[in-house]
Amino acid sequence: MSKPKVALYWCASCGGCEEATVDLTERLFDLVEAVDIVFWPIAMDFKREDLEKMEDGSIDIAIINGGIRFEEHEEMVKLLRRKSKIVIAYGSCAHLGGIPGLANAYPREEILKFAYEEAPTVINQDRVRPMKKTTVDGMEFELPDFLEYLKPLDEVIDVDYYIPGCPPTPDLTWEAVSKLLSGEIPPKGHVFGSDKSLCHECPLNETKPDEIKLEELKRPHQVVLDRSKCYLTQGVLCMGPVTRGGCEALCIKGGMPCTGCFGPLEGVYNQGAKALSFLASVIDIEDEEKYREMLEKLGFDPIGWFFRYSLAKGMIYRKKGDGE
């Protein structure tokens, strides 16, 4: 019997997800032992042509990380979809848009203008912009176009499973892959991780009082956190309650509050809005003026706080440019 075929690919991502795959360490050998890696551009010498040559549906599992920001991403994932039986969106960017999805707060034109003209480190008097097609010495070159917005993977192709995280933990990755390889197939659309929020597995959950009332909010650098007490009750925004568990509470154990990379739970339509809603519910300030003062002192950044990984996934998330 031939070994299952696995493809790995990256789109708009930082490379951390690839790093996380390598972090499987010795288990990577078990993986290579168990499967045939037929496509993994970052680690092995495969070209697009190689993929195109494969038969449709011949790959068993395609693991794709990164959001969709360039035409090339779109083409490649559509191709991978065609060639694969199972597609996994791997990591926050493929799952929810992730950090690159924060750029959706600005229209394309504004991003390009800043990056190529206005950024303080840029000198570009001729205002040259990357072009889709250009001719140099009679030779025509083509670049993939920068798309209007960043999209999570499932807005471009059909996705079977999700492995969340920025990046996903090696244990979760291993658990998901070994489950799929052993034929333990979850229902389509399943997000690996816990079915409950992080609080459930958080070692500090039992220090949380029944009632939470916050009189002040603080950012992690504004306070010395007591690492033996629920961070939220110390006034620091912890996305734990609104974030899927399954990460082993690594950030919490490392002394930092949860930033929400595992995304929302089943049934939550908008992680950021939900976060805003739960936080607003436990802030115990009646006076509007005092509220404003507190937010001022805090340097309130709702998109960065609540939508850090999920801005591209919400119901209302794209800022329109003029005339677009």
Binding site: D195, E211, G240, P241
Partner: protein
Amino acid sequence: MSSEEVKVEGACPTDEVRIGVYVCHCGLNIAGVINVKEVVEYAQKLPNVVSAKEYIFMCSAPGQDLIREDIKKCKLNRVVIAACGPEMHEPTFRAVLEEAGLNPYVLEMVSIREGSSWVHYEDPEAATEKAKDMVRMAVARARNLEPLEKMSGEVKQRALIVGGGIAGLASALDLAERGFEVHIVEKKPVLGGHAARMGQLNVEGRKVSGKDLVDYLVKKVKDNPNVHIYTNAEVTKVDGSIGNFTITVKLKPRYVNDKCTSCGKCVEVCPVTAPNEYEYGIGERKAIFLPFEGAYPNQYVIDPETCTFCGKCVEVCPEGAINLDEKEKEITLEVGGIILATGHDPYEPPVGEYGYGLSPKVITLHQLKRLLSEDGPTKGELVIDGKRPRNIVFISCVGSLGTTPNANQYCSRMCCSASLLEALHIKEKYPDAQVFFVHKDVRTYGKDENLYWKAIDNLVKFVRFEESPKVTVGKGEVKVEVEESTIQERLVIPADLVVLVTGMEPPKEIEELRSLFKVGCGGDGFLKEAHLKLNPVESLTGGIYLAGTATGPKSIAESIVAGSAAAAKAASLLSKDTIEVEPIVAVVDEDKCSGCGICVSICPYGAISLEKKEDGTRVSKVDPMLCQGCGTCGAACPSAAIQQNSYKDKQIIPQILAVFER
């Protein structure tokens, strides 16, 4: 994703759903603007709609018949009524469904009257389009409505009344006379609250004192076998919910039993003194004392805070009524309803505010009332610093109308009348006294208005201010400086006595009270009514009613009215054997709940608690009897683990999606 294919657990299979849509003309209220026929035709084409009809008044008997017959004929299992808002006729139509054999909760009312025809009467075409949108949304929601069963609980036909002041007594008496067993728990060692020490009152010119009213009520209450009185007692725990509360009451030791004949021998030998709180700090009392003459129970009491337990009183007591070893006791009461008549504290100005605390010549209205009372410390003689004052200046709105930083923002209602009554009292008793009434406003409203005119006739000098007056305390001299705002002149009034007309503030222990009974407080710190106008004596928590100044400043008459009203509300609960509660409550999915506790923190009714499971993790639990279905927890639940019956995501989300499905 369309509203029909929302991916939610347990959504009804669409092929089974049979919806009837009934569009009401409401006479011309709707049909005068909206093209009802067009809306009905539109509704007929919507998915799952098997019947759509119109009628001039759906709520009328023939209208109801039409729906009932249709339900049977078309085998409907969901009903949408496009008419008025649900406040008025939801119960009507729920009954219609029930009579036709349907569960009453598969009804959706959509208010095309308030939401469209009334507000868009200038644009009938747009109003018709909007009505169609609203009907489409209602159908999308109705598709996933579920049958619900009403829940019921037993009612213990007894009441707890917290506070034995005038409001508590009034409500206790009303309930007891209707045959209900009543338990009054009063924190102080005596009944009567502030009213018992309010001196004379304005009762249509007759001389009636607060004490007279208290005596009258106390007599009736203590003679009624249905009433159980616990003084020197405090509620320490409240369990259960509407109809079925278990109350733990701590009975503090009084150290003196009912053999006491109030002979007073113990007081003579008691070596310890303390300021007398029953005289608002005027004069002193001993550690063993009778709070005031004719108090109920008329029995001495030892204040353990000041008593040194020297035992001298025990030696002299001829009746052997004193037992210094008496211990605290605890009892539990099982009641169906609770009336909180927990009262107020008189506003206590901070030292230095208007010279208060800097000179014996600056006193509060409450202290003046004690000085002028015949049962007071001076037997009604107004003597200040050994002398009878001639120039007396009242400064009104101390602690009210935002005159000082600590003051309440609004009027305390009773103080203008109470102080003008005392001003007249002084004028009558000492005709040579000069009385100035320095005020921000005079609010002797209603039947007390005669006090104002009488004060003018009796030459009380009214001085109006906009900027708070200044009281300077010099060597034995007190002056009141005020910018008279009518004549626009600065006046300096030398005063032998300054009376600060103090208002009311929430009692110091209001926060404990609030969390103990799980009732809300308003921004002013007083307990909050469920609705200021519609439910002024009900709290937001079912089965807990509010009386007297617990909800804010009131006169004695108003407190009694509130006491009786709370009793009436409580009686309508207590007269039932069981109560039914709406099944539209929050429900927790334990498989999703992570025990984060957000819901517990925000539930305004204290209906949610965290329960520890065997594996040590926590899950939240909603008490359906306490839950009022406000939906706050469902909105805040970060895990979408809380869903509210009839307002589940699978019901709301399709409704929202349907907005865009034209």
